[in-house]
Protein backbone atom coordinates (compact mmCIF):
# COMPACT_ATOMS: atom_id res chain seq x y z
CA UNK A 1 0.00 0.00 0.00
CA UNK A 2 1.44 3.32 -1.04
CA UNK A 3 1.62 6.33 1.27
CA UNK A 4 -0.72 8.30 -1.00
CA UNK A 5 -3.39 5.60 -0.76
CA UNK A 6 -3.07 5.48 3.03
CA UNK A 7 -3.52 9.26 3.29
CA UNK A 8 -6.52 9.15 0.95
CA UNK A 9 -8.16 6.38 3.02
CA UNK A 10 -7.54 8.33 6.24
CA UNK A 11 -9.05 11.47 4.70
CA UNK A 12 -12.08 9.45 3.61
CA UNK A 13 -12.47 8.13 7.17
CA UNK A 14 -12.33 11.65 8.66
CA UNK A 15 -14.85 12.91 6.08
CA UNK A 16 -17.23 10.05 6.86
CA UNK A 17 -16.96 10.73 10.60
CA UNK A 18 -17.65 14.46 10.07
CA UNK A 19 -20.75 13.63 8.04
CA UNK A 20 -22.07 11.29 10.74
CA UNK A 21 -21.44 13.89 13.45
CA UNK A 22 -23.22 16.61 11.43
CA UNK A 23 -26.26 14.41 10.85
CA UNK A 24 -26.40 13.54 14.56
CA UNK A 25 -26.22 17.21 15.61
CA UNK A 26 -28.90 18.13 13.07
CA UNK A 27 -31.21 15.37 14.34
CA UNK A 28 -30.67 16.51 17.93
CA UNK A 29 -31.47 20.15 17.08
CA UNK A 30 -34.64 19.14 15.23
CA UNK A 31 -35.64 16.99 18.20
CA UNK A 32 -35.16 19.89 20.62
CA UNK A 33 -37.12 22.22 18.35
CA UNK A 34 -40.03 19.79 18.23
CA UNK A 35 -39.92 19.28 22.00
CA UNK A 36 -39.95 23.01 22.82
CA UNK A 37 -43.34 23.23 21.11
CA UNK A 38 -45.23 21.78 24.05
CA UNK A 39 -43.11 22.52 27.11
CA UNK A 40 -43.39 25.92 28.68
CA UNK A 41 -39.95 27.49 29.01
CA UNK A 42 -41.02 29.65 31.91
CA UNK A 43 -41.30 26.61 34.17
CA UNK A 44 -44.75 27.56 35.44
CA UNK A 45 -47.66 25.88 33.73
CA UNK A 46 -50.67 28.02 32.94
CA UNK A 47 -53.31 27.65 35.61
CA UNK A 48 -56.37 28.09 33.40
CA UNK A 49 -57.25 24.84 31.62
CA UNK A 50 -55.50 22.70 34.20
CA UNK A 51 -57.16 20.45 36.84
CA UNK A 52 -57.53 22.14 40.22
CA UNK A 53 -56.26 20.48 43.43
CA UNK A 54 -58.74 17.87 44.71
CA UNK A 55 -59.43 19.82 47.90
CA UNK A 56 -61.10 22.72 46.04
CA UNK A 57 -63.04 20.85 43.32
CA UNK A 58 -66.85 20.95 43.42
CA UNK A 59 -68.40 18.01 45.25
CA UNK A 60 -71.26 15.84 43.94
CA UNK A 61 -74.38 17.94 43.34
CA UNK A 62 -72.41 21.18 43.05
CA UNK A 63 -72.19 22.80 39.63
CA UNK A 64 -68.90 24.61 40.09
CA UNK A 65 -66.65 26.14 42.68
CA UNK A 66 -65.17 29.56 43.32
CA UNK A 67 -61.73 29.57 44.88
CA UNK A 68 -60.23 32.72 46.37
CA UNK A 69 -56.52 32.93 47.06
CA UNK A 70 -56.13 35.36 49.97
CA UNK A 71 -53.50 36.79 52.29
CA UNK A 72 -53.97 36.78 56.04
CA UNK A 73 -53.32 40.48 56.50
CA UNK A 74 -54.70 42.49 53.58
CA UNK A 75 -57.87 44.51 53.94
CA UNK A 76 -58.98 43.93 50.35
CA UNK A 77 -58.88 40.17 51.01
CA UNK A 78 -61.39 40.65 53.84
CA UNK A 79 -63.75 42.40 51.39
CA UNK A 80 -63.40 39.52 48.93
CA UNK A 81 -64.10 37.07 51.76
CA UNK A 82 -67.32 38.88 52.70
CA UNK A 83 -68.48 38.85 49.06
CA UNK A 84 -67.78 35.10 48.88
CA UNK A 85 -69.87 34.46 51.99
CA UNK A 86 -72.81 36.09 50.20
CA UNK A 87 -72.36 33.79 47.17
CA UNK A 88 -72.04 30.78 49.45
CA UNK A 89 -75.39 31.51 51.12
CA UNK A 90 -77.23 32.13 47.84
CA UNK A 91 -76.15 29.39 45.43
CA UNK A 92 -75.26 25.74 44.99
CA UNK A 93 -71.72 26.88 44.33
CA UNK A 94 -68.87 25.48 46.35
CA UNK A 95 -66.88 28.36 47.81
CA UNK A 96 -63.37 27.98 49.18
CA UNK A 97 -61.08 30.71 50.47
CA UNK A 98 -57.46 29.65 50.74
CA UNK A 99 -55.35 31.78 53.04
CA UNK A 100 -51.86 31.50 54.43
CA UNK A 101 -52.84 32.07 58.07
CA UNK A 102 -55.89 32.85 60.18
CA UNK A 103 -55.45 35.59 62.78
CA UNK A 104 -58.67 35.09 64.73
CA UNK A 105 -60.23 31.62 64.31
CA UNK A 106 -63.55 32.67 65.85
CA UNK A 107 -64.03 35.75 63.67
CA UNK A 108 -67.53 36.17 62.28
CA UNK A 109 -69.74 33.85 60.24
CA UNK A 110 -68.72 31.91 57.18
CA UNK A 111 -65.42 30.68 58.57
CA UNK A 112 -66.40 27.25 57.25
CA UNK A 113 -65.21 28.33 53.79
CA UNK A 114 -61.92 29.79 55.03
CA UNK A 115 -59.16 27.26 54.98
CA UNK A 116 -55.40 27.14 55.52
CA UNK A 117 -54.20 24.66 52.90
CA UNK A 118 -50.61 25.56 52.15
CA UNK A 119 -50.14 22.98 49.37
CA UNK A 120 -53.30 23.94 47.44
CA UNK A 121 -52.62 27.66 47.93
CA UNK A 122 -49.06 27.33 46.65
CA UNK A 123 -50.42 25.47 43.63
CA UNK A 124 -52.93 28.22 42.81
CA UNK A 125 -50.98 31.32 43.87
CA UNK A 126 -49.82 33.45 40.93
CA UNK A 127 -47.86 36.10 42.77
CA UNK A 128 -50.81 38.29 43.75
CA UNK A 129 -53.60 38.15 46.30
CA UNK A 130 -56.56 38.46 46.25
CA UNK A 131 -57.19 36.32 43.18
CA UNK A 132 -60.44 34.50 42.40
CA UNK A 133 -60.58 31.30 40.31
CA UNK A 134 -63.57 29.56 38.76
CA UNK A 135 -63.51 25.74 38.67
CA UNK A 136 -66.08 23.88 36.51
CA UNK A 137 -67.96 20.68 37.42
CA UNK A 138 -65.17 18.56 35.95
CA UNK A 139 -62.61 20.11 38.30
CA UNK A 140 -60.81 22.20 35.66
CA UNK A 141 -59.84 25.83 36.30
CA UNK A 142 -61.71 27.84 33.66
CA UNK A 143 -60.93 31.43 34.65
CA UNK A 144 -58.71 33.49 36.89
CA UNK A 145 -59.20 37.14 37.87
CA UNK A 146 -57.04 39.50 39.92
CA UNK A 147 -59.12 41.60 42.30
CA UNK A 148 -58.30 45.29 42.76
CA UNK A 149 -59.71 47.93 45.07
CA UNK A 150 -61.90 49.31 42.25
CA UNK A 151 -63.19 45.91 41.04
CA UNK A 152 -66.98 45.40 41.03
CA UNK A 153 -66.90 42.26 43.18
CA UNK A 154 -70.53 40.99 42.93
CA UNK A 155 -70.38 41.43 39.13
CA UNK A 156 -67.02 39.65 38.94
CA UNK A 157 -68.24 36.69 41.01
CA UNK A 158 -71.46 36.45 38.96
CA UNK A 159 -69.41 36.40 35.77
CA UNK A 160 -67.08 33.72 37.11
CA UNK A 161 -69.99 31.48 38.21
CA UNK A 162 -71.61 31.88 34.78
CA UNK A 163 -68.35 30.99 33.10
CA UNK A 164 -67.82 27.89 35.23
CA UNK A 165 -71.38 26.68 34.47
CA UNK A 166 -70.98 27.09 30.70
CA UNK A 167 -67.49 25.87 29.90
CA UNK A 168 -65.87 27.71 27.03
CA UNK A 169 -62.51 29.06 26.04
CA UNK A 170 -61.03 32.14 27.62
CA UNK A 171 -61.88 34.18 24.50
CA UNK A 172 -63.95 37.09 25.62
CA UNK A 173 -64.16 40.74 26.29
CA UNK A 174 -61.80 42.14 28.91
Amino acid sequence: MSVALAVALLALLVAAFTLVALVAVYARVRGLEAASGDTSLSGYATLVGRPAPASVRPGPGEGCSLVAVLDGDCTLCATVFQALIAVNAADDVRVVALTDRIHDPAAGPGTGILRVDVAARADLYEGYAPTVLAVDAGGTVVARRFVYADTDLPELLRELVARARTPQNEVSRA
Binding site: L41, Y44, T46, E126, Y128, Y148, A174
Partner: protein
Protein backbone atom coordinates in the same frame (compact mmCIF):
# COMPACT_ATOMS: atom_id res chain seq x y z
CA UNK B 1 -51.87 49.73 42.49
CA UNK B 2 -51.12 52.62 44.79
CA UNK B 3 -48.36 50.72 46.55
CA UNK B 4 -46.40 50.68 43.32
CA UNK B 5 -43.03 51.48 44.78
CA UNK B 6 -41.24 51.16 48.04
CA UNK B 7 -40.45 54.68 49.07
CA UNK B 8 -39.09 56.16 52.22
CA UNK B 9 -37.84 59.53 53.26
CA UNK B 10 -34.08 59.70 53.29
CA UNK B 11 -32.65 61.36 56.35
CA UNK B 12 -33.22 65.08 56.15
CA UNK B 13 -31.63 66.01 52.79
CA UNK B 14 -34.85 66.53 50.87
CA UNK B 15 -34.54 63.17 49.11
CA UNK B 16 -36.68 60.08 48.86
CA UNK B 17 -35.32 56.56 48.32
CA UNK B 18 -37.00 54.48 45.64
CA UNK B 19 -36.24 50.88 44.79
CA UNK B 20 -37.42 49.59 41.42
CA UNK B 21 -36.85 46.62 39.15
CA UNK B 22 -36.01 47.43 35.52
CA UNK B 23 -37.50 45.39 32.68
CA UNK B 24 -34.26 43.44 32.40
CA UNK B 25 -34.65 42.33 36.03
CA UNK B 26 -31.86 44.58 37.31
CA UNK B 27 -32.56 46.26 40.65
CA UNK B 28 -32.30 50.05 40.49
CA UNK B 29 -31.91 52.21 43.58
CA UNK B 30 -32.65 55.91 43.27
CA UNK B 31 -32.68 58.89 45.57
CA UNK B 32 -35.03 61.49 44.15
CA UNK B 33 -35.55 65.10 45.26
CA UNK B 34 -38.95 65.46 47.00
CA UNK B 35 -39.38 68.66 44.97
CA UNK B 36 -40.18 66.50 41.93
CA UNK B 37 -43.21 64.91 43.58
CA UNK B 38 -44.48 61.32 43.54
CA UNK B 39 -43.55 59.25 40.53
CA UNK B 40 -45.54 56.65 38.64
CA UNK B 41 -43.12 54.25 36.99
CA UNK B 42 -43.15 53.26 33.35
CA UNK B 43 -40.51 51.55 31.27
CA UNK B 44 -39.34 50.57 27.88
CA UNK B 45 -37.35 47.68 26.46
CA UNK B 46 -36.42 46.25 23.09
CA UNK B 47 -35.57 42.74 21.87
CA UNK B 48 -33.51 41.87 18.84
CA UNK B 49 -32.63 38.43 17.54
CA UNK B 50 -33.22 36.12 14.61
CA UNK B 51 -36.75 36.76 13.27
CA UNK B 52 -37.43 39.03 16.21
CA UNK B 53 -37.44 42.81 16.60
CA UNK B 54 -39.93 44.00 19.14
CA UNK B 55 -40.37 46.89 21.55
CA UNK B 56 -42.38 46.70 24.75
CA UNK B 57 -43.71 49.58 26.84
CA UNK B 58 -44.21 48.92 30.53
CA UNK B 59 -46.83 50.77 32.54
CA UNK B 60 -48.77 50.48 35.80
CA UNK B 61 -51.60 47.92 35.58
CA UNK B 62 -54.87 49.03 34.01
CA UNK B 63 -53.53 51.59 31.53
CA UNK B 64 -54.30 49.21 28.64
CA UNK B 65 -58.01 49.86 29.18
CA UNK B 66 -57.43 52.97 27.05
CA UNK B 67 -56.92 50.70 24.02
CA UNK B 68 -60.50 49.34 23.65
CA UNK B 69 -62.01 52.61 24.92
CA UNK B 70 -60.01 55.23 23.05
CA UNK B 71 -57.44 53.87 20.60
CA UNK B 72 -59.13 50.90 18.90
CA UNK B 73 -62.84 51.27 19.75
CA UNK B 74 -65.09 48.53 18.40
CA UNK B 75 -62.16 46.22 17.80
CA UNK B 76 -61.64 42.54 18.50
CA UNK B 77 -60.21 41.23 21.78
CA UNK B 78 -58.67 37.89 22.65
CA UNK B 79 -57.64 37.06 26.20
CA UNK B 80 -55.43 34.16 27.21
CA UNK B 81 -54.65 33.43 30.84
CA UNK B 82 -50.99 32.71 31.50
CA UNK B 83 -49.37 31.93 34.83
CA UNK B 84 -49.34 35.21 36.74
CA UNK B 85 -50.67 37.43 33.93
CA UNK B 86 -53.18 37.67 31.09
CA UNK B 87 -52.09 38.02 27.49
CA UNK B 88 -54.63 40.24 25.75
CA UNK B 89 -54.63 40.89 22.00
CA UNK B 90 -56.47 43.94 20.67
CA UNK B 91 -57.13 44.33 16.97
CA UNK B 92 -58.79 47.26 15.17
CA UNK B 93 -62.07 46.45 13.41
CA UNK B 94 -60.45 47.13 10.01
CA UNK B 95 -57.30 45.19 11.08
CA UNK B 96 -55.10 48.22 10.44
CA UNK B 97 -53.41 47.99 13.84
CA UNK B 98 -53.16 45.62 16.77
CA UNK B 99 -51.46 45.30 20.13
CA UNK B 100 -50.45 42.61 22.59
CA UNK B 101 -50.69 43.45 26.29
CA UNK B 102 -49.16 41.29 29.00
CA UNK B 103 -51.38 42.38 31.90
CA UNK B 104 -50.04 41.37 35.28
CA UNK B 105 -51.55 42.24 38.66
CA UNK B 106 -49.25 45.25 39.21
CA UNK B 107 -47.85 46.21 35.81
CA UNK B 108 -48.37 45.58 32.13
CA UNK B 109 -46.23 45.41 28.99
CA UNK B 110 -47.59 46.48 25.63
CA UNK B 111 -46.26 45.96 22.12
CA UNK B 112 -47.81 47.23 18.87
CA UNK B 113 -47.81 45.28 15.64
CA UNK B 114 -48.73 48.11 13.26
CA UNK B 115 -50.91 45.79 11.19
CA UNK B 116 -53.17 42.76 11.60
CA UNK B 117 -52.60 40.72 14.77
CA UNK B 118 -50.51 37.55 14.39
CA UNK B 119 -52.36 34.23 14.32
CA UNK B 120 -52.96 32.32 17.57
CA UNK B 121 -49.87 30.24 16.84
CA UNK B 122 -47.82 33.39 16.24
CA UNK B 123 -48.95 34.91 19.54
CA UNK B 124 -48.18 31.62 21.25
CA UNK B 125 -44.66 31.63 19.80
CA UNK B 126 -44.13 35.25 20.85
CA UNK B 127 -45.29 34.52 24.39
CA UNK B 128 -42.99 31.52 24.56
CA UNK B 129 -39.97 33.59 23.64
CA UNK B 130 -40.37 35.95 26.64
CA UNK B 131 -40.72 35.51 30.36
CA UNK B 132 -42.92 38.09 32.11
CA UNK B 133 -42.72 38.26 35.90
CA UNK B 134 -44.64 40.91 37.77
CA UNK B 135 -43.99 42.29 41.24
CA UNK B 136 -45.06 45.34 43.20
CA UNK B 137 -41.70 47.04 42.50
CA UNK B 138 -41.63 46.53 38.76
CA UNK B 139 -42.26 43.97 36.07
CA UNK B 140 -39.48 41.91 34.50
CA UNK B 141 -39.66 41.04 30.81
CA UNK B 142 -36.69 39.02 29.57
CA UNK B 143 -36.07 36.65 26.67
CA UNK B 144 -36.66 33.00 27.55
CA UNK B 145 -33.23 32.24 26.11
CA UNK B 146 -30.59 34.99 26.14
CA UNK B 147 -28.26 33.05 23.83
CA UNK B 148 -29.93 34.33 20.67
CA UNK B 149 -32.06 37.28 21.76
CA UNK B 150 -30.46 40.52 22.91
CA UNK B 151 -32.18 43.09 25.09
CA UNK B 152 -30.78 46.56 24.36
CA UNK B 153 -32.36 49.86 25.42
CA UNK B 154 -33.80 49.14 28.83
CA UNK B 155 -35.09 52.25 30.51
CA UNK B 156 -37.10 53.18 33.56
CA UNK B 157 -39.38 56.19 33.11
CA UNK B 158 -40.74 58.05 36.10
CA UNK B 159 -43.60 60.50 35.61
CA UNK B 160 -44.81 62.91 38.24
CA UNK B 161 -47.01 65.98 38.05
CA UNK B 162 -43.93 68.15 37.56
CA UNK B 163 -41.37 66.10 35.72
CA UNK B 164 -40.40 63.17 33.52
CA UNK B 165 -37.28 61.24 34.50
CA UNK B 166 -35.70 58.66 32.19
CA UNK B 167 -33.15 56.33 33.81
CA UNK B 168 -30.82 54.19 31.70
CA UNK B 169 -27.76 52.04 32.19
CA UNK B 170 -24.55 54.09 32.04
CA UNK B 171 -23.20 52.04 29.12
CA UNK B 172 -26.27 52.88 27.03
CA UNK B 173 -26.18 56.53 28.06
CA UNK B 174 -22.53 57.03 27.14
CA UNK B 175 -22.90 57.71 23.36
CA UNK B 176 -25.40 60.52 24.00
CA UNK B 177 -23.28 62.43 26.53
CA UNK B 178 -21.46 65.67 25.60
CA UNK B 179 -17.70 65.66 25.02
CA UNK B 180 -17.03 68.43 27.52
CA UNK B 181 -16.97 68.05 31.29
CA UNK B 182 -20.13 68.73 33.24
CA UNK B 183 -20.78 70.12 36.69
CA UNK B 184 -19.65 67.66 39.36
CA UNK B 185 -22.43 66.68 41.74
CA UNK B 186 -22.51 63.94 44.42
CA UNK B 187 -24.53 61.74 42.04
CA UNK B 188 -22.26 62.22 39.03
CA UNK B 189 -21.75 64.79 36.31
CA UNK B 190 -24.53 67.21 35.29
CA UNK B 191 -25.12 68.84 31.90
CA UNK B 192 -27.90 71.00 30.52
CA UNK B 193 -29.13 70.05 27.08
CA UNK B 194 -31.53 71.72 24.68
CA UNK B 195 -35.16 70.72 24.59
CA UNK B 196 -36.90 70.07 21.30
CA UNK B 197 -39.72 72.62 21.33
CA UNK B 198 -41.44 74.73 18.69
CA UNK B 199 -40.95 78.50 18.69
CA UNK B 200 -44.05 79.38 20.73
CA UNK B 201 -43.40 76.93 23.58
CA UNK B 202 -39.69 77.75 23.45
CA UNK B 203 -40.67 81.38 24.12
CA UNK B 204 -42.73 80.28 27.11
CA UNK B 205 -39.86 78.50 28.80
CA UNK B 206 -37.04 80.92 27.85
CA UNK B 207 -34.82 82.14 30.66
CA UNK B 208 -36.04 79.79 33.40
CA UNK B 209 -35.18 76.33 34.65
CA UNK B 210 -37.62 74.86 32.14
CA UNK B 211 -35.51 75.89 29.18
CA UNK B 212 -33.24 72.87 29.58
CA UNK B 213 -33.20 69.14 29.86
CA UNK B 214 -30.94 68.01 32.72
CA UNK B 215 -28.63 65.09 31.98
CA UNK B 216 -26.92 63.41 34.94
CA UNK B 217 -24.41 60.62 34.39
CA UNK B 218 -23.35 58.52 37.36
CA UNK B 219 -21.02 55.51 37.51
CA UNK B 220 -23.73 52.90 36.83
CA UNK B 221 -26.66 54.85 35.38
CA UNK B 222 -27.59 57.95 33.48
CA UNK B 223 -30.65 60.12 34.05
CA UNK B 224 -32.45 62.56 31.83
CA UNK B 225 -34.82 64.97 33.56
CA UNK B 226 -37.38 67.30 32.03
CA UNK B 227 -39.28 69.71 34.27
CA UNK B 228 -42.79 70.06 32.86
CA UNK B 229 -44.36 73.40 33.37
CA UNK B 230 -45.30 76.32 31.14
CA UNK B 231 -45.19 74.43 27.84
CA UNK B 232 -47.89 72.04 29.04
CA UNK B 233 -50.12 74.67 30.59
CA UNK B 234 -48.91 74.42 34.18
CA UNK B 235 -47.53 77.17 36.37
CA UNK B 236 -43.73 77.42 36.26
CA UNK B 237 -41.69 76.32 39.26
CA UNK B 238 -41.15 79.44 41.37
CA UNK B 239 -37.41 78.82 41.70
CA UNK B 240 -34.33 80.03 39.83
CA UNK B 241 -32.12 77.61 37.97
CA UNK B 242 -29.44 77.57 40.69
CA UNK B 243 -31.97 76.22 43.15
CA UNK B 244 -32.97 73.48 40.70
CA UNK B 245 -29.33 72.45 40.46
CA UNK B 246 -29.16 72.38 44.27
CA UNK B 247 -32.16 70.08 44.35
CA UNK B 248 -30.59 67.86 41.70
CA UNK B 249 -27.53 67.35 43.89
CA UNK B 250 -29.76 65.02 45.91
CA UNK B 251 -30.44 62.95 42.79
CA UNK B 252 -28.32 59.78 42.80
CA UNK B 253 -28.82 56.16 41.93
CA UNK B 254 -27.30 52.78 41.33
CA UNK B 255 -28.14 50.33 38.55
CA UNK B 256 -27.10 46.87 39.81
CA UNK B 257 -26.34 44.08 37.35
Amino acid sequence: MAAGSMTQEAAGNGGRDVWRVAASGDPVELTLPTMLGDFRWYGNTRFTGPQLARQFFLAPAGEHRAIPDKILPGGRQMRKAMRGYDAVVFEASDRSDSALVLAGPYHEATTWFGGPAPTAAGIERLLRSFRFTDSANGATLVPASDMLVQQPDVSLIGRSAHSVLVVRRAAEMLPTLPEWAGLTLPGGELWRADRVLDRVTAGLVAGGPHQWRYVLAGPTLGMDLVLLEPESGRAPLPVPETQVVDALSVLTGRWAG
